[in-house]
């Protein structure tokens, strides 16, 4: 099985790559359209802001390439947000393959932005990507923007309201948390993705 990591400039690429290695998969880091199209699985990692993230995909000529993919695709953190319709962060138009708008968390008593730390995942739908997800399972989040819970949410977490922790539409999937940094729970979900 060939798995590629899209090199969109995110700083967590190394961590995602190591996490895949721990699962026995050596993922190629690439920005080459042909290599991405030919892969069995495509992962779009990302740390940073939506505007520069989309600008980088544009520069690399990967916007239409990503939109047209038919194999399983996984966006992680910012990568998940880039799969959605648009982002409030810098008023950015995103890839639009999963309907949903990315919004900034609203600060409130006890709600400190960025949302940073381990939060419980609550399954909302049955889906192979979240197979085996148990009650009290937590994942590690670090972000200031999120997609509100909606019809494409497979799992949600609560931070001043429910937001999408795992999302999917057709072959496109996203995880708002960092599976590469979410211990056994994260490894399980990454393994699920590799098995799709």
């Amino acid at each position: 099985m060939s798995v590629v990591l899209v090199d969109a400039g995110g700083t967590n690429i190394g961590s995602v790559r190591y996490a895949l290695q721990r699962l026995g998969v050596d993922a190629e880091l690439t920005a080459d359209a042909e290599t991405i199209r030919a892969a069995d699985k495509v992962i779009l990692p990302g740390v940073g802001a939506a505007g520069p993230g989309m600008a980088r995909l544009c520069e690399l000529g990967l916007v239409d390439v990503m939109r047209a993919l038919t194999q399983p695709v996984l966006g992680v953190c910012l990568g998940m947000q880039l799969l959605c319709t648009d982002s409030e962060e810098g008023h950015t138009e995103c890839l639009g393959v999963i309907p949903g708008s990315v919004r900034r968390f609203t600060e409130a008593p006890g709600i400190r932005v960025p949302h940073m730390g381990w939060n419980q995942l609550v399954a909302r739908q049955s889906h192979p990507l979240i197979a085996g997800l148990g009650y009290d399972d937590s994942a590690y989040f670090v972000h200031s923007y999120a997609v509100p819970a909606g019809e494409y949410s497979l799992a949600t977490a609560d931070f001043g309201g429910d937001f999408s922790a795992v999302i999917a539409r057709d072959n496109f999937h996203g995880m708002q948390f960092h599976p590469e940094r979410s211990a056994a729970v994260g490894a399980r979900l990454l393994k699920n993705f590799l098995s799709l």
């Binding site: 740390v47 400190r112 960025p114 730390g117 009290d136 670090v142 200031s144 960092h178 590469e180 979410s182």
Partner: protein, 256 residues
């Protein structure tokens, strides 16, 4: 619900994990990767590595071990120690660290915080603050605390610096209360509570943990998001699984 975080802090000197008392007299505690794995297995929520000699010696953190840790660890970790530029921060993040923490270099040149936040997003940028109460009752910032001979007392008030750091783009603040560090008499709840009131980003308590009640007090009374500790974890005086069970029984949200 978001969990409160337990964060073992590993002070790194010459590639080994060390621990001093009130930032002095360092004793070697073990190998970096071994300790990192041990804490991962015990259920630590996050790790912080401080290269405590990097800033006083004017050099950046050694990146070799950052990559070794990143390969084996599946929980987040933060690296601190003499990161003075966006390029140095990028190298540490690319080596696999999830966050970088700046302390003395941000005091030297506060615009570093803005630059790091612009380059990587605020979620990657932690500002560590070493703070000590002066005889006039004010908490003020200390610089270059990794080396007692080079430590400097600054005129800068801790709370002013905390506000400025947030305005510049700190995504998290670690407050090292030096007066309580290493002596296991409890976190400085007074200072942490005052800091909490002006800290709108996640706040991590550091310095003073001795018994499980100290963690509970920091979370419940000072409302901190994370609690950092070193010696009580390194020595085995407090085991993380038991600590978490205790905290959950006390009504504190923790990851089990």
């Amino acid at each position: 619900m978001l969990s409160r975080r337990l964060i073992p802090c590993l002070d790194v000197r010459d590639g080994k994990v060390v621990k001093g008392v009130q930032f002095r007299d360092h004793v070697v505690m073990g190998e970096i990767v071994d300790l990192a794995l041990r804490y991962r297995d015990e259920g630590a929520d996050e790790l912080v590595f401080y290269d405590i000699t990097a800033s006083p010696e004017g050099r950046s953190v050694d990146r070799d071990w950052v990559e070794r840790v990143a390969r084996v660890i599946d929980i987040p970790f933060c690296v601190a120690g003499g990161i003075r530029s966006v390029d140095e921060a990028r190298a540490v993040l690319h080596a696999g660290a999830d966050k970088i923490s700046v302390n003395s270099p941000a005091l030297e040149r506060p615009a570093l915080i803005d630059e790091l936040a612009a380059a990587f997003g605020v979620q990657c940028v932690v500002v560590g603050i070493d703070s000590l109460r002066d005889t006039d009752g004010e908490w003020r910032v200390r610089q270059y605390t990794g080396d007692p001979d080079k430590t400097q007392a600054l005129a800068r008030k801790t709370l002013d610096w905390m506000l400025e750091a947030q305005q510049r783009g700190a995504g998290e603040i670690v407050l090292n209360c030096m007066g309580s560090d290493g002596v296991r008499k409890g976190y400085d709840l007074e200072q942490l509570s005052v800091a909490r009131a002006v800290c709108h980003v996640p706040l991590v308590a550091s310095g003073g943990a001795g018994v499980p009640e100290h963690f509970r007090d920091a979370f419940v009374e000072a409302d901190v998001d994370g609690a950092l500790a070193a010696s009580v974890f390194h020595s085995g005086a407090i085991a993380i699984p038991e600590l978490k069970k205790y905290l959950r029984a006390q009504g504190v949200a923790v990851r089990l």
